[in-house]
């Protein structure tokens, strides 16, 4: 179980920057795998780093009641000038694997399947090889919760399948908190979802709902941006505006239907998200209508 209590996070550069995360207040129960979704820069990796304890929140606190891995992914964790074997040895020692380093190394080597490259410096590795090694390394320890930051995104097909299988084998023993843009892998491995938007987190008991909310929002944003472009450009033709108007109308209709079809017993907070999405779509639609009339 991980308790995240009113966590705020901002990074300091020369002057204070905006909040990356604002008032995140969640409890991630044990045994539930969670997918983190959100646009680029929404704070997914930051939240993951905070959960891992790599970084500490500006305000609030995070309590870890289980053993948590480091964020498995592309970034960091390896010293480039050292060989794969030496890095694995280092991590084994840090995690107190004193006395069974050899066993851990054997397990990692077997899982990563990078052959003789295991004894080459990490800086000569491709990103796929790095992620194989990082992934294999984390699996060599029995954590209660594994954190994954796009860990499998650069792997080839065979490796992705192997990684998914490895996690599925852990079901019941360990859970997963993962950041991914791959919808398939999220649906496959996670039960619950967290959708991060504008520094705030929305919890969904079903990962599909989180993904839907994210997709609705990002579709709306795409339309919004397009409207902005069309309005500001002098080259916009009536034809273009009409096509766009139809698009916006279709999007608005689909959202409204989705809202009407929401089950009655749904939580007010989740309903609120859909209502907001509809409202935003309506704004865009109105903007499109004004644009068409102006051009006529």
């Amino acid at each position: 179980m991980i308790e995240i209590k009113h966590v705020y996070k901002r990074y300091y550069t020369h002057r204070a920057t905006d909040w990356v995360l604002q008032d995140i207040d969640l409890t991630i129960p044990s045994g539930v795998s969670v997918g983190l979704v959100g646009g680029n820069g929404a704070g997914k990796s930051t939240l993951l780093r905070l959960i891992a304890g790599m970084d500490s929140p500006t305000r609030g606190e995070i309590k870890r009641h289980s053993s948590v891995s480091w964020p498995i992914g592309l970034a960091g964790g390896f010293q480039g000038s050292m060989t794969g074997r030496q890095n694995v040895k280092f991590v084994a020692r840090v995690h107190g694997g004193h006395g069974n380093e050899a066993e851990i190394i054997r397990r990692v080597e077997a899982f990563a399947e990078i052959g003789p490259a295991f004894d080459q410096p990490i800086k000569t590795y491709s990103s796929g090889m790095r992620s194989r090694l990082n992934f294999g390394l984390s699996l060599a320890f029995d954590f209660d919760i594994y954190l994954s930051d796009e860990a499998t995104s650069v792997g080839d097909r065979a490796f992705k399948a192997k990684a998914s299988k490895a996690f599925k084998d852990k079901v019941g023993k360990a859970s997963l908190i993962m950041v991914s843009h791959g919808v398939g892998v999220l649906r496959e491995l996670c039960q619950a979802g967290i959708y991060l938007r504008d520094g705030r987190a929305h919890w969904y008991d079903d990962i599909n709902d989180a993904i839907d909310a994210y997709h609705n929002d990002s579709d709306a944003h795409v339309l919004e941006r397009k409207l902005h472009q069309l309005t500001n450009s002098k080259m916009t033709s009536l034809m273009q505006a009409q096509v766009f108007h139809q698009e916006a109308k279709a999007h608005f209709d689909s959202l409204q239907i989705a809202l009407e079809q929401l089950p009655q017993d749904i939580q007010p907070r989740e309903r609120q998200a859909s209502v907001q999405a509809v409202n935003e779509a309506r704004e865009t639609l109105h903007g499109a209508r004004r644009l068409v009339q102006k051009l006529k």
Partner: protein
């Protein structure tokens, strides 16, 4: 640092400790720190000696070449009969080795954190660990090299045995501690404000002369000496030399009390800075 070390695992009520093959039980803060130090020490030791081409060779060749050059210059400029009651070459060797011990702390400190940045992915590893380990390993290697030099000198027939072994060793360890203090302070300051590193690097050359490593300070006029003696390195070097050469006349005003005030002050300041800026050092 200890309070965060046990971020590894809080004593869990619902912690499934079923088949934890890798010993993943809640470890004490000290146990975590110890395993981090062990792991970092092994990594650093291998990195320092094995990954460079002929790493071992240069470790010994660099100070010896430096020594040769210095001796060459000095005996060319003036005779080597300036130092009262101490043979010139051993006198300079002691000074140089001691000075390098401190200077290494000054210059390597700032790199210690950046070099270990990738390892902060593991929450058990703190910025201060890298600095401590690097300084420890560095001192260890320099001690070894110093002993090798002494052995070589003894085999060549010079009398390079310290007259007061205790004083020589404690002087050496004191210099080591001062280097560590500098290292802790510079590592934080240099990582947060990169300009500090440049200034420190610029300082290291004049310090070699100002600390009386090559030229004895005894002949300088009093009004100058008053300022030069503010530099703690001089005190440590003179004390160590006195340990080696019984009748050696140390520079007037040498005081180990002054030296240790500096050392303890730097150590305390450095550790405080590491506690205060830990998060920023990791986030940089």
């Amino acid at each position: 640092m200890a309070s965060d070390m046990n971020g590894d695992m809080t004593p869990p009520s619902n912690h499934s400790s079923g088949n934890n093959k890798s010993g993943h039980k809640a470890r004490s803060a000290w146990a975590v720190t110890r395993s981090v130090w062990f792991a970092m020490f092994m990594r650093e030791a291998i990195g320092r000696t094995m990954t460079d081409r002929m790493g071992w060779f240069w470790m010994i060749a660099e100070p010896s070449l430096m020594l040769l050059v210095m001796i060459g210059i000095r005996s060319f400029i003036r005779g080597d009969k300036l130092i009262v009651n101490a043979p010139f070459i051993p006198w300079m060797l002691v000074g140089m080795m001691g000075f390098f011990l401190v200077r290494e702390g000054l210059t390597q400190g700032s790199g210690a954190i950046n070099a270990n940045r990738a390892l902060f992915a593991y929450r058990q590893v703190q910025p201060v660990d890298g600095v401590l380990i690097r300084n420890f390993l560095d001192g260890l290697l320099r001690t070894l090299i110093f002993l090798l030099f002494m052995l070589g000198a003894l085999m060549l027939g010079t009398d390079f045995r310290p007259d007061s072994g205790f004083q020589a060793i404690s002087g050496w360890l004191s210099l080591w501690a001062l280097g560590l203090g500098f290292s802790l302070v510079v590592s934080v300051a240099g990582t947060l404000v990169p300009e500090v590193t440049k200034v420190v690097r610029m300082l290291s050359m004049p310090l070699l002369i100002l600390s009386g490593v090559i030229m004895p300070l005894n002949h300088l006029p009093h009004y100058l000496l008053e300022y030069l003696m503010l530099n703690p390195i001089v005190h440590g070097l003179e004390y160590t030399r006195h340990g080696f050469f019984e009748g050696y006349k140390v520079v007037h005003g040498t005081s180990m009390l002054y030296f240790w005030s500096w050392t303890l002050g730097m150590l305390a300041l450095g550790l405080l800075m590491h506690v205060r800026f830990k998060e920023r050092l990791k986030a940089q």
